[in-house]
Amino acid sequence: MRHDFIDRFSRIDSPIHRLSTSVKVILAFTAVITTIVLHISFAWYYAGYSLLLLAGACVSRIPKLFLLKRLLLFEPFVLGVSTLSLLQSGGGIIFFTVVLKSTLCLATMILLSNTTPFSDLLSLMKHLHVPGLLITILALMYRYLFVLIDETEKMQRARESRTFTEKQSHVWKTRVTLIAQLFIRSTERAERIYSAMRARGWK
């Protein structure tokens, strides 16, 4: 039961974790916007910001390997699409620009998401008058995400313990049943959650 793999480190303690959510969000947004808007010829900005991100990663006390893995998880897509930009005149510069900019933005967001609990982001949204319905849906989604992942793992384990070898065609069949079952179970769970919410005086 390792269902906290998504944001395991967002609740540890470090100088960056202790910063207020709004400060972190404003910093991250400013950095992302600057990185995208600024021309690539401002080399000093890109060099400086890369160093700042590295420093941030060190101060955050999140395992470096974890951050690197997260970065590498999305890098194939970045490289894949930007390779297409090589197919034009001056493509080399565009390729370099896109890879640099998106890697920096990605690193910024990885640092933000791993130093800020999602619930803090939700309360910030509430402050910013984001519609209540959206916040309720996001909060419910985040709360039960881990429960559903857990349930999926249980179903998969049950399946694996009953099959010796999984054939390709079987995988599809079991995955489809799994998804359908998961939907049915989440609907049933939603009904129980509603009763529980009502019992505690919701609306």
């Binding site: 699409v81 297409l84 990605l106 995400l145 992942i149 939603a190 959650i193």
Partner: protein
């Protein structure tokens, strides 16, 4: 298909953010007015369900694997307005929890996958469902709509990348569209099989949800329709004129006069395309897309026949 930050330029970011703000605003407003209190947890849990379902990989040929996006699946399960809200929530959580998809590109991703993916897919679903009645038509509609929604979303993605000047349309469009024509088949199959499986065990759930969560009215259809059309015009039309570009390039390479080619293109736009092959890759892709659509539709008909007979068997044995 989640576009990361850095691929889109300022004008594309502003345009896509504006479109998705209008579309999402409409969906949320409508949902707020029509949703019954007990359905709110249901929408939240469905969003969590879509997130988890996207993490399950399906093996495809040669060691590669694909996964569900779920735009049409959600639209069929909960109706189009709830689907736009659900897919948007999934994208928001993926962006802020996982850093999957950029923050400034969030507008583009919402536009492609939540608004076009769900709404356009739902429209196709409704149209096909009307043409072919009965349960067989229903399954065919689901499969075909999922394919169309995946392919259109990818084409829009290519258009946005080209509009930003990151990737040339002549490179982005063929690659994105061709890859997603294959991915779309997987999406269609998974969607229809999942819905058939839900239908087999809890048919009541489907009927109840479809009729009750956010019944859609003409007003949103008009708003979504306008956003879709304007988006398509904005992101795709600049490149329609660019289609002969590949041909022009090869001609220039072969030593023809540029002007001569240009004027001949204006005068005889059709006669210059040698069907099939020689023309530009974008043209070939468009043709492949049309052929692909027909193939997927037929595939949908075949699969739906099988699914209907399967589900009937299940009922008779009960």
């Amino acid at each position: 298909m989640h576009i990361p930050d850095g691929f889109l330029d300022t004008k594309t970011i502003i345009a896509t953010t504006a479109f998705s703000a209008v579309g999402f605003g409409t969906a949320l407003h409508k949902l707020k007015n029509t949703i019954l209190p007990h359905q709110i947890p249901m929408v939240g849990l469905t969003a969590a369900f879509v997130f988890v379902a996207q993490m399950l990989n399906f093996p495809v040929v040669a060691g590669t694997s694909g996964h569900l996006v779920g735009s049409v699946l959600t639209a069929v399960l909960l109706g189009p307005n709830a689907a736009v809200v659900v897919i948007t929530s999934v994208l928001i959580v993926q962006c802020f929890l996982f850093a999957d998809g950029g923050v400034l590109a969030l507008g583009a991703n919402i536009f492609n996958m939540a608004i076009i993916g769900s709404f356009f897919g739902y429209m196709i679903y409704r149209i096909v469902n009307k043409i072919i009645p009965g349960r067989r038509g229903w399954f065919t509609a689901i499969m075909f709509a999922s394919w169309c929604s995946t392919v259109l979303a990818s084409i829009l993605c290519a258009g946005e990348l080209a509009w930003s000047g990151t990737v040339r349309w002549n490179a982005a469009f063929p690659v994105m569209a061709n890859v997603h024509m294959l991915i779309g088949i997987g999406e269609g199959l998974i969607t229809v099989l999942v819905i058939a499986a839900v239908w087999k065990t809890r048919a009541d759930l489907l009927e109840e949800n479809v009729s009750r969560v956010s019944p859609s009215s003409h007003r949103e259809f008009i708003i979504y329709g306008i956003i879709t059309v304007v988006g398509l015009l904005l992101f795709l039309s600049p490149f329609v004129s660019e289609w002969p570009d590949g041909l022009e390039k090869t001609a220039a390479l072969l030593g023809f006069e540029r002007n001569a080619i240009d004027s001949s293109l204006i005068q005889f736009p059709i006669s210059d395309y040698k069907f099939p092959g020689v023309g530009s890759p974008a043209m070939a892709t468009t043709l492949a897309g049309l052929v692909g659509a027909v193939i997927v539709f037929i595939l949908g008909l075949v699969i739906s026949k099988f699914l209907v007979s399967q589900s009937d068997k299940k009922i008779s044995t009960r």
